[in-house]
């Protein structure tokens, strides 16, 4: 029942890039894809905790900068054959403003 939080605008995040939202429960990485979809994941790779916000975004995935695991942005799940998932948050974009629901959907 937590409220949506305004975290910034679409223009604050480069296309195919990410920014970090700092929370008391750890960092959340907010990604923007080439077609301007926005996703939010825990900023921790399920493999060894690498900061996903620092990875390269391609298609609907991000590649972790530490050991090249690929993570699906929409679910936080690792791309096969790797196994694992990271926490995932609901996001919406309203007239260019990004809103984040800081309650974890799934981890």
């Amino acid at each position: 029942m937590t409220d949506w939080i305004e975290i910034g605008t679409l223009d604050d995040i480069p296309k195919l890039g990410a920014r970090v939202v700092k929370t008391s429960n750890g960092d959340i990485a907010v990604f923007r894809t080439a077609d301007d979809n926005v996703f939010a994941l825990d900023d921790r790779c399920p493999h060894k905790g690498g900061p996903l916000s620092q990875g390269i975004v391609h298609g609907g995935r991000v590649t972790c900068p530490l050991h090249n695991w690929q993570i699906e942005l929409n679910s936080g799940g690792a791309v096969a054959p790797d196994i694992g998932a990271t926490g995932c948050y609901a996001v919406q974009v309203d007239k260019g403003v990004i809103l984040l629901n800081p309650v974890k959907r799934r981890s």
């Binding site: 975290i7 604050d12 480069p14 008391s24 907010v30 905790g49 990875g55 390269i56 054959p81």
Partner: protein, 812 residues
């Protein structure tokens, strides 16, 4: 409506083609498969381990029945096609099933050749081709004692070894005087025979079988010279014949096999053929690697991409007999126009022979130590000029040491617990298990499933060897024309050429022109494209930060905990009290936990928080220091010794030359990291002979060395040439850097680059061709106008890329 694609032959070649088609055009076809055997698709290569009981049937299935239904494929297993009606475009099976087709793939494989001698059809006479044969052999091994295998080739020996493992008394009969004569020369063949005799096999060489004796069942084998030996089963393994009956009856042009062109089409353009049943440019193939090459081409045309061509395959062979390492490729016998390099050590049971013609490897045979088989095969296929490495060639790729593997060279004798990949802790057993249970064929497959060889790559040779010894020679080696990544079929060269010739200046433009398969590439191709663009069109192509690895975006080195390390440049390793004070102050001010001296003669500040980076840089900038690019695919350091200014042995001012080189080349982006060193005398205290570019000063001038590496795999430099002045040393150095920048693949260090293209080529371009050297030097200087800017100052003082270093929002 979808077009109808019918595959006849449910074997490895045909199903591999379907897999490729599904990858390229998953929605295009409605697919039906006919297979004579009542199974899914299994790995025929692993029949020998199945016979040897090293594997079970489940282990060798590649595609189970579930796979067909998951992909919407109709499988008719156990039904044999008896008619192809090309006019009305349908096929008919022996049970009357009729299916229409728009396109067809023929993959009918081959049949074992049966000697036309009396008794050949007696019960107890079998071949070695499918699961049915293996079952027959296993059954016989339970009941009987004496086995005769006719044929001393690859398949015959594997069958013999399998039967021997089940306790049978096995004699191998061979027409010629040496075993595996199509794969081995005489000395290697002799070593093989001795090793197999030690394993309990018996041999009858130069023996021509005249008759198989018996009434209700086989009882013996009689030779032309009248001798007779007892036999309870006889395995005929004298060769295979392409299975062309069906194609012939449909009126398709056949010779030894079904004749196909470079697009794998038969004479009826609606009908393609792949695998052992085909004949291409006069050749037929019986190994898997070429079949997979054909599958790729066939799928490319079925998906209507229409640009791939099959141009034949070079093949290599390995014998799958536990404890015997054997490898051969190409023309290993040679003739009067070739030269041999031979190494033989009977005590160790090692024999190696390379056949050389015009400074290129034409063939190779190895016995006992096959570690370098895949390397020689690569040199063979790529036609690499080996003149510069000829002296060391025989000692193998790792002759200068291969760190981390204790000189291990023979995987077949390794235990399953031997660690192969030291980076990711992957053992031999893990790799073998992944290969067999997951049906892997390529190095890439193994990398993604096990992570072995996916980090530093130094165990790649061992992993390839495990692939080869698990699958036999049939594993798919890295193709000669390797695509850049999974997003494209284009090679690095092709991409570079297009960027240059078509004046492409942005990643979207390049992807569009080159028909990239993914909308915005992947973490592997985007950094490569970005590098190719900015190095080809400096100042014109815009650098794309989102296509750079984080280190080059943040201009610092990411560490395991997400903090960064900062290394300011120290020109030629020189520093002074002011710089050292600034470094100390920064470490205090920002609570930097670790300060370390690097191997490149500078100081590393480790554990810096990302948000602090611009402020740290600002303070360092104030003391006159700039980025050391310790994080980049770029010029790293120029290591020097003190040289003639202080050293009693120094012949030239090595420190001064090192500083000049660094001042000129810093800031340049490269295909990979690039290290230099200048030593003041041949004692070489700056270790210049393991750098990408190294200078060793001597009394009469400067020796210029290239292509060294002190990391993953130690490689001493090659001597490029000697010059007499500092100005020349600098000009040659810059020209070398530029040649590397323009021609190496992205992420290829100078050492493997030089091994790939040969030192001769570099000498030609830089030493012999003065005009070209000067042009390279000039292009480098031009490019430096755009790239020699301190990225730290731009970010610390000018606020460029500010978003990179600040959180989007702080939520309480």
């Amino acid at each position: 409506m979808k077009e109808k694609l019918v595959l006849i032959g449910n074997g490895m070649a045909g199903v591999r083609t379907l897999e490729e088609v599904l990858k390229l055009a998953p929605e295009k076809y409605d697919i039906t498969v006919f297979g004579a055997e009542p199974f899914g698709n299994y790995n025929r290569i692993l029949l020998s381990p199945l016979l040897a009981k090293e594997k079970k049937l489940d282990d060798i299935m590649l595609n189970d029945l579930q796979w067909y239904s998951d992909n919407g494929i109709t499988l008719h297993a156990g039904k044999k096609i008896v008619q192809i009606h090309r006019g009305k475009r349908f096929v008919k099976a022996d049970d009357g099933t009729v299916v229409q087709y728009d396109r067809m793939i023929l993959a009918t494989g081959s049949n074992p050749f049966i000697l036309p001698i009396p008794g050949a059809n007696l019960p107890g006479v079998i071949t070695f081709r499918d699961i049915h044969d293996v079952n027959a052999m296993l059954e016989a091994a339970q009941k009987y004692r004496d086995a005769v295998v006719i044929g001393g080739g690859l398949l015959g020996l594997e069958a013999a070894y399998g039967l021997r493992n089940h306790g049978m008394d096995v004699t191998v009969v061979h027409l010629l005087d040496s075993l595996m004569e199509r794969q081995l020369d005489k000395p290697a063949s002799g070593l093989l025979k001795r090793a197999l005799e030690e394993k309990g096999l018996k041999f009858a060489l130069q023996a021509q079988t005249a008759e198989i004796v018996g009434d209700a069942r086989v009882t013996g084998v009689k030779f032309k010279d009248g001798r007779e030996i007892p036999a309870d089963i006889v395995v005929m393994a004298v060769g295979i014949r392409p299975n062309i009956e069906l194609a012939k009856s449909a009126g398709l042009h056949c010779q030894r096999g079904i004749v196909i062109n470079d697009t794998t089409q038969t004479f009826d353009p609606r009908i393609y053929a792949v695998g052992e049943c085909v004949e291409h440019r006069g050749n037929t193939y019986g190994l898997v690697a070429p079949l997979f090459d054909m599958a790729k081409v066939c799928a490319n045309h079925l998906a209507q991409l229409g640009y791939a061509r099959y141009q034949g395959s070079a093949i290599s062979t390995k014998l799958k007999v536990t404890g015997i390492d054997l490898f051969s490729a190409g023309d290993f016998n040679g003739d009067e126009t070739t030269e041999d390099i031979v190494m033989q050590d009977a005590g160790r049971g090692v024999y190696k022979k390379l056949v050389i013609k015009d400074n290129k490897i034409k063939g190779a045979v190895m016995y006992g130590d096959t570690m370098d088989g895949s390397w020689y095969f690569q040199l063979l296929r790529e036609g690499t000029d080996i003149s510069a490495m000829r002296e060391q060639l025989m000692f193998g790729q790792a002759h200068l040491g291969d760190s981390g593997h204790g000189g291990a060279s023979s995987v077949s004798t390794m235990s399953d617990k031997t660690e192969i990949c030291g980076c990711n802790g992957v053992c031999k057993g893990d790799i073998v298990k992944a290969i067999t249970t997951k049906g892997l064929f390529t190095l890439d497959d193994v990398r993604s499933h096990t992570k072995a060889s996916s980090s530093c790559g130094s165990c790649t040779g061992l992993v390839e060897q495990i692939l080869a010894s698990t699958l036999g020679g049939d594993y798919s080696t890295t193709p000669k024309e390797k695509p850049m990544c999974k997003c494209t079929d284009h090679t690095h060269e092709a991409v570079r050429k297009a960027i240059k010739d078509k004046h492409l200046t942005s990643i979207p433009q390049a992807m569009q022109y080159l028909e990239w398969r993914t909308p915005d590439g992947c973490h592997s191709c985007r950094p490569a494209l970005n590098y190719y663009l900015i190095s080809t069109w400096p100042g014109e192509a815009a650098d794309d930060p989102q296509s750079r690895f984080i280190n080059e975006r943040a201009h610092a080195n990411i560490q395991k905990d997400g903090t960064y390390s900062v290394v300011p440049r120290m020109w030629g390793g020189l520093t002074n009290p002011k710089e050292l004070r600034a470094i100390a102050d920064v470490a205090d001010k920002f609570n930097i936990p670790t300060v370390k001296v690097t191997g490149g003669q500078r100081i590393d500040l480790l554990g810096v928080k990302k948000e602090d980076l611009p402020a740290v840089w600002f303070d360092l900038n104030q003391a006159g220091m700039v980025s050391g690019h310790a994080y980049g695919k770029s010029l790293r350091t120029v290591k020097t010794c003190v040289g003639s200014e202080w050293c009693r042995f120094g012949t030239q001012d090595s420190t001064g030359l090192g500083v000049q080189l660094e001042r000129i080349t810093w800031g340049s982006w490269m295909p990979h990291k690039f290290k230099m060193a200048v030593s003041g005398c041949p004692r070489n205290c700056a270790e210049a002979t393991i750098k990408d570019f190294g200078v060793v000063c001597v009394d009469s001038g400067y020796e210029l060395h290239v292509g060294g590496n002190g990391g993953v795999k130690i490689r001493a430099t090659d001597l490029l040439c000697k010059v007499t002045s500092e100005a020349e040393a600098i000009e040659y150095g810059c020209a070398f850097v530029q040649l590397y920048r323009e021609e190496a693949h992205y992420l290829e260090r100078t050492a493997p680059w030089i091994e790939r293209i040969g030192l001769g080529y570099i000498k030609e371009r830089i030493v012999d061709d003065v005009k070209n050297r000067k042009a390279l030097h000039e292009r480098f200087m031009e490019s430096q106008k755009y790239f020699q800017k301190d990225p730290w100052a731009e970010r610390a003082a000018e606020g460029i890329e500010k978003h990179e270093f600040t959180p989007l929002k702080q939520v309480v």
